[in-house]
Amino acid sequence: MTLKNFCIGFLIATLLLIGYVVEAGIAVVHVKTPDTHIWIPVPVAVGHLVGKFIDLPLSQEPEFETLLDYGEEAVEIVRQLKDLPDSILVEVSKTRERVRIFKRGGSLCIDVDNANEKVKVRLPLHAAEGLLEALSHRHVNVGDLVACLEWQPAGDIVHVKNGNEEVRISIW
């Protein structure tokens, strides 16, 4: 009887854990070159947990200090972006190049399309808020950064295609 209860409890706990991990999202890194084909799925919740033990030595970087200086402005810009309706904020069109920065849904999107490469970035604004919050502390670990991707809508976050090479980071 006790063993049966233990097994049921263990099963429920396992199912809940799996549910949480799946619901939190799975980040998939996909790198494709003529020689290699890498496909790495990382459950965001696991990345969050494991990444907590990996500190990033950002505080020694001068660029990080600059970022800290502009933290307030960046937070304010993200806050304002969240309130904006869907719109094209910046668009540059040339014969062979097109750059667009726009807001769609709850994300800030950047599209660059030229003869050599295609870049698509979709930054969910909730993730940007979390990222800025994580970077506002001097001690940043990988887990804090990965945590920004939790509970984000599915889709590509970054997609870069350059000739025969392709990198895609998506959330499932």
Partner: protein, 182 residues
């Protein structure tokens, strides 16, 4: 009861119709469109809420542009001279301040109500046309900086108070620029 329902419906309709306009007036957008029709035609469009431009100005740390103030890098006219000139011009009320009519170009600087108008037209073939309409409050705010600085942040704040409309249009045979608020 019916009257109350009608009143509530009318109120909701009024609120629905009025709120976007109010929100728009509260935070107008600055639009910039630059079109170059040279060998490599380029179209640049920037649409940003003025409040966001204001925040972004804090991030710019250029030698001449700090804290939203632009240090004027010209020896032709100082900001102090501009302020003096502007205060005299404002006293004049609605008037034509400058009219130059030449074979090749015409220039007109005038005040019309709450607007300062600057119009330059080159009469040669494919000559350029410059049309600037700046609300007086914006010029006041622009010249409110200390020393030799133009107060861009204050000018933006003044623009935020103003209604929508064109601020600058330039029509060159190769370049078209339009700056407006709505």
């Amino acid at each position: 009861m019916k009257t109350l329902a009608c009143l509530v419906s009318a109120g909701l309709l009024f609120f629905d119709l009025g709120s976007p306009a109010l929100a728009q007036n509260k935070n107008p957008w600055l639009h910039l469109e630059v079109q170059e029709s040279n060998a490599d035609p380029t179209l640049v469009k920037v649409n940003l809420p003025i409040s966001m431009v204001d925040v972004a100005l804090n991030v710019v740390k250029d030698e001449n542009l700090k804290r939203g103030r632009l240090k004027l890098d010209t020896h032709d006219i100082s900001v102090a001279e501009m302020k003096q000139l502007w205060s005299e011009l404002k006293k004049a009320g609605n008037a034509e301040f400058l009219t130059v009519e030449k074979k090749t170009e015409s220039v007109r600087i005038a005040r019309q109500g709450n607007l300062l108008l600057i119009k330059v037209i080159e009469s040669k073939r494919q000559g350029s046309k410059v049309d600037i309409k700046v609300p007086l409050d914006v010029v006041d705010a622009l010249l409110s900086g200390p020393g030799e600085e133009l107060n861009i942040k204050a000018a933006l704040a003044a623009m935020q108070q103003k209604g929508s409309g064109d601020i600058l249009t330039v029509n060159d045979h190769q370049t078209q620029v339009r700056l407006w608020i709505d």
